[in-house]
């Protein structure tokens, strides 16, 4: 039996939109990790669950306690699991976003992202797979490696890899400056002082933070964003969807409540794949099917990346409109006044004020019927989603959890370096943390060897008596 010291995690269902997505953790800390990110009122917690049972609850973001998704959790105890280690599975049903978020949380609690085929490898090394299947194990590792390197290549766009290489090289230089102090302190090499090292670290941190901040946007590019169109009945939501899609998909009729279920369509907004959800109109109704639709509409509001709240510009705002305003206030939102082809029944500022004013909620007047303002709407959705960072404009986006994690760990290590240096602690401690920082970030593009650091020293300083 192999005693692995680390616990691994990965999404074990195929990427993309599926019914459920499974995040699997395996290793000696699997149950401890799951314990820190799962809450259930009624049901059992992972550590007390009998093996091979499931429990219903929520994946919780440990940072703020917010719920990520409602999930089923399954616990399997060593050696009775696929890997013969403790295994916990989260069955998420909120789509790819929540699956990824769940995985990120396992990593933040100490799991390591599994290498391609690593679950299978562990199963084999731990004796769960018999010899006759050994070739199969090698094949799994091979194919997963091929697949993941293809995906990794796709995800590491030219701009990102350039940016990371730039940071790695700057960090290699900082390591060289520090190591030179330790290894060549008896030389007359005119070494740089600690202040210069700190300044360099500050610049690297700035770059890393910028890059890290593109992750949210990056994920939008990779996984797409969801846009929910909400509004009371008959304000033209379906017409808007058709206008955005430039085709007739939703049934457009004068009869209120025509869209009783949510309709999903996909479109591309300047490179970002967007899933547009045309929701059932929200109004008071007693009809069961319609009530169900309204409930879903309200759920869509919760889950969407961007909400487009549609109002009828040709009529006064109704109590249902105000109900929608109440439900959508504080969300990432565009307030849309439709039917600009008709005479305006209220001023845009009235709507803006209803959302609390202060220009926080952008208000746009369009006509889904005549296509007036549809282009402006798309631009607005893009800028809300992508933000205004120069990295995003140049296409430098972090899209991969592994990369995001490496950047964040690098930032943590650099923060420790800065503290150690400012406190005048022994230099070799800062050097240790610097190497940690360099090792984590250079995992993305290929590890930096000691030789590269020495190269940098010898290129920079006149060493040697």
């Amino acid at each position: 039996m192999n005693s692995y010291q680390d616990t691994i995690a990965a999404v074990s269902t195929p990427p993309g939109e599926g019914g459920i997505g499974i995040v699997r953790i395996s290793g000696k800390d699997a149950i401890v990790i799951s314990q820190g990110m799962f809450k259930s009122k009624k049901y059992k917690l992972p550590s007390t669950m009998p093996a091979f049972t499931m429990s219903l609850g929520h994946v919780i973001n440990p940072l703020d306690g917010s719920s990520v998704d409602e999930v089923l959790i399954a616990v399997m105890r060593a050696p009775h699991s696929y890997t013969a280690e403790d295994v916990v599975e989260f069955h998420c049903h909120g789509g790819y976003f929540t699956v990824k978020k769940t995985l990120e949380i396992t990593l933040s609690l100490g799991a390591r992202l599994a290498e391609p085929g690593e679950f299978t490898l562990r199963a084999f090394l731990n004796g769960r797979i018999d010899l006759s299947q050994a070739e199969g194990v090698l094949d799994v590792i091979k194919s997963k490696t091929a697949e993941s390197s293809r995906i990794a290549l796709e995800q590491l766009s030219g701009g990102v890899s350039e940016k990371i290489t730039e940071i790695v090289s700057a960090l290699t230089t900082v390591c060289a400056l520090t190591e030179a102090h330790i290894d060549f302190s008896d030389e007359d090499a005119q070494l740089s002082d600690v202040k210069e090292i700190l300044i360099n670290i500050g610049e690297i941190e700035k770059k890393l933070k910028q890059l890290s901040s593109t992750y949210e946007t990056g994920r939008l590019y990779r996984e797409g964003m969801s846009i929910a169109i909400v509004g009371r009945t008959n304000v033209g939501k379906s017409s808007l969807l058709n206008a955005l899609l430039e085709k007739n998909r939703a049934i457009v009729s004068e009869t209120p409540g025509t869209t009783r279920d949510t309709i999903e369509e996909y479109l591309n907004i300047d490179g970002i794949p967007a899933r547009v959800i045309d929701t059932a109109g929200i109004r008071q109704s007693t009809e069961y099917a319609e009530l169900e639709g309204i409930k879903r509409s309200l759920n869509s509001i919760e889950a969407a990346d961007v909400i487009v709240a549609v109002f009828d510009g040709g009529a006064e705002l109704t109590s249902e409109d105000f109900y929608i305003i109440e439900k959508t206030t504080g969300k990432t939102l565009i307030a849309l006044i439709n039917k600009s082809d008709l005479k305006a029944a209220f001023h845009a500022s009235v709507l803006a004020e209803s959302y609390g004013g202060g220009g926080l909620t952008p208000v746009l007047r369009i006509s889904a019927k005549t296509n007036d303002g549809i282009g402006a709407l798309k631009d607005m959705i893009f800028s809300i989603a992508a933000g205004n960072s120069p990295e995003v404009k140049n296409g430098v986006l972090i899209t991969n959890v592994r990369h995001k994690r490496a950047i964040d760990e690098c930032l943590f290590a650099l923060a420790r370096v800065a503290t150690l240096l400012s406190d005048s602690m022994p230099l070799e401690l800062a050097a240790f943390e610097l190497r940690t920082a360099l090792d984590t970030i250079s995992e993305i593009t290929g590890l930096v060897t000691t030789d590269s650091i020495l190269d940098s020293i010898f290129g920079r300083f006149c060493i040697g008596k």
């Binding site: 084999f124 330790i182 008896d186 070799e428 050097a431 006149c462």
Partner: protein, 628 residues
């Protein structure tokens, strides 16, 4: 050919690698013979008259802990001792000493002569004998055609293997200046299938003290009292001497620039790659042309000589240029050169062919140590000699090999680097090469290695007893620090005096020592042990406690690494059979043939998924064998 005599172990070469190898093998009970081309240059310091330095000082202490001789020789010959890097933490403190060349070699030769089981012979080994059917070394042949049989042969040729010396555009065959090169042996190694390459190193001119104006240079004295290398040296007895520092200037640099057409380095005459950390003065002036001056250290060659070693101006320029450039330097205006500087090119063997025991993988009983493995430096050489000698003895005695790990010793880092990474220039140890640097301190070398040296049979009872009693005092003091509590009013005056925030509640000595600004000395004044500890133990306690957090972090990393490090890859492992390894991974793996999965993982260019496949394949192989 019939043999004149049979030995368990033959060592060819009497430098730092050869002498440690021969001593280790003989002391561990092998009938041993050391061949040297010149009995009078055994233990010669061929380059600068100094031992240790950053990272190298660590190695000297490791050699001492394992039972080698270098530390004691350096203490015997030392004429100036300095602990470097004192402004940093204890992990990177390192000892350096100036040594009297003559005293050093006298000490080494005497120890060899006094060692049981050891013959020392003047003679040149020109080829090796080999049993092809069993892939085994069987002995050596000397230049006189004499044959000696041996179960193990340790080759330590230094710069002598096809050595070629350059001064200006003149060149001549020599191992060191005016000494015969070793010719023939390189071909013999090549015939055994070893890959031979060429490296270069250099040395500066030696000057006559009576022609140096020392008033124009700044003296640099050593520490007082001097700290010895060896844990068993009681005191340094030699009178201590200063070095002197002076500088090159624009005029010196002009002279060099104007003569580059007569430099063997810049005219393309030298093909071997030189070390970047030890460049010639012509290299420094060309590559760092913006620097107005370079430091020159005038190091005394010994107590009974007027030769001074001009460290910093290593050169292979013609003699007339050497004279002119030396005399352009402050204090050296009238200096006479006693020996010119020169460059030497020599053959080395690419060390990827070696096991961690320094035995050649493909030839049983053949060991290589020192500069022949691409290293530079006395300390690096001596350490390899020691490891090769110990392993030759362990193998013949049928005992477990000594394979030092990267977290155990700088020696382990060095050997693993040599056999794993590619070689592009002479290899020198730097502390930055050790990823577990905070564990590998020079103050804890004994704690790390003494037991291993004793278990191998190299550390004698007497020294082991000394170590044991020292270990007891150390453990007792560590326990006292963990348990002894100090009241605020006892310690606060001392804390306040140093500007450290006072205590409000009692605290253990350990907790106090962990606070920045607090040291052993301060706590000793408040709460002393029954018997005062020697200084080195005080520092050891301080280091272990102050850096406990970081030490623990590194220990966690070591544990993680061990899982793959402990997985051995059999010699006949067929990488091609795995299929699906990337071409680069496969090529590198076939070149290095790593001994463990841990080593495989450290080969540059071998991917994590290749490691997964090797693991799966190893498991498959193991189970297939179990089924049979």
């Amino acid at each position: 050919m019939s043999a004149v005599k049979s030995y368990d172990c033959i060592v060819t070469g009497g430098g730092h690698a050869g002498t440690e190898a021969a001593l280790a093998a003989a002391k561990m009970g092998l009938s041993t013979c050391l061949f040297t081309m010149n009995l009078d240059t055994i233990g010669q310091l061929s380059c600068n008259p100094a031992i240790g330095g950053l990272a190298k000082g660590h190695i000297v202490r490791e050699i001492d802990s394992l039972g080698g001789v270098m530390a004691q020789a350096a203490d015997f010959a030392g004429i100036q001792f300095r602990m470097l890097n004192r402004s940093k933490g204890p992990a990177v403190w390192s000892l350096r000493a100036q040594a009297d060349r003559v005293l050093y070699r006298v000490y080494i030769k005497r120890v060899l002569e006094e060692t049981k089981n050891l013959d020392i012979k003047q003679g040149t080994v020109t080829s090796l004998t080999f049993d092809k059917s069993r892939n085994r070394i069987t002995g050596v042949v000397t230049s006189l055609g004499t044959v000696y049989h041996s179960k193990a042969v340790i080759v330590t040729t230094g710069t002598f293997l096809n050595g070629l010396i350059h001064i200006g555009l003149q060149s001549f065959s020599a191992g060191r200046a005016w000494e015969f090169p070793s010719v023939g042996l390189s071909e013999s190694l090549s015939e055994l299938g070893l890959k031979i390459g060429r490296l270069k190193t250099g040395t500066p001119p030696r000057l006559d003290a009576k022609t140096i104006d020392f008033n124009k240079a700044e003296p640099q004295w050593g520490d007082n009292p001097p700290v010895p290398f060896s844990f068993s040296t009681k005191a340094i007895l030699n009178p201590q001497l200063p070095c002197y520092i002076t500088y090159t200037n624009e005029k010196t640099h002009g002279i060099i620039h104007n003569s580059l057409d007569r430099s063997p380095l810049y005219s393309g005459k030298i093909s071997g790659k030189g070390p970047r950390y030890c460049p010639s003065i012509e290299d420094k002036v060309v590559r760092f042309s913006e620097r107005p001056r370079h430091q020159v250290f005038l190091e005394p060659d010994g107590l009974n000589t007027s030769e001074y070693y001009a460290n910093g101006i290593s050169t292979s320029l013609p003699l007339d240029v050497q004279i002119e450039l030396v005399r352009s330097i402050a204090g050296l205006e009238g200096a006479e050169l006693m020996r010119p500087g020169y460059a030497v090119e020599y053959d080395f063997v690419y060390p990827a062919c070696l096991r961690h025991t320094l035995e050649v993988k493909t030839i049983e009983g053949l060991y290589l140590a020192g500069q022949i493995n691409s290293t530079s430096g006395y300390e690096e050489a001596a350490a390899q000699g020691l490891v090769a000698g110990m392993n030759a003895a362990l193998k013949i005695k049928g005992a477990q090999p000594l394979e030092l790990q990267r977290h155990e010793a700088y020696i382990g880092v060095m050997i693993d680097d040599l056999v794993t990474l590619g070689i592009t220039e002479p290899y020198r140890m730097f502390t930055s090469r050790a990823e577990y640097r905070l564990l590998l301190r020079n103050d804890n070398a004994e704690l790390r290695l003494k037991e291993k040296g004793y278990a191998a049979g190299l550390v004698d009872e007497n020294r082991y007893e000394q170590y044991k009693s020292k270990l007891d005092s150390f453990n007792a003091e560590m326990y006292r620090f963990k348990t002894k509590r100090v009241k605020p009013d006892e310690i606060n005056p001392s804390l306040i005096k140093r500007g450290i925030s006072p205590l409000t509640e009692p605290s253990t000595l350990e907790q106090l020592l962990k606070r920045p600004g607090v040291d052993y000395e301060m706590l000793e004044s408040v709460s002393a042990p029954d018997v005062e500890l020697p200084t080195d133990l005080k520092l050891l306690v301080e280091a272990e406690i102050k850096y406990e957090g970081y030490i623990k972090q590194q220990e966690v990393l070591v544990e993680k690494m061990k899982r793959l490090q402990n997985k051995r890859i059999p010699d006949d492992f067929n990488y091609k059979e795995i299929g699906g390894l990337s071409t680069e991974s496969l090529m590198k793996l076939l070149e290095v043939r790593p001994e463990t999965v841990g080593q495989a993982q450290r080969i540059p260019g071998v991917t994590p998924s290749s490691i997964s496949m090797i693991l799966a394949y190893l498991e498959k192989r193991k189970r297939t064998e179990n089924q049979r």
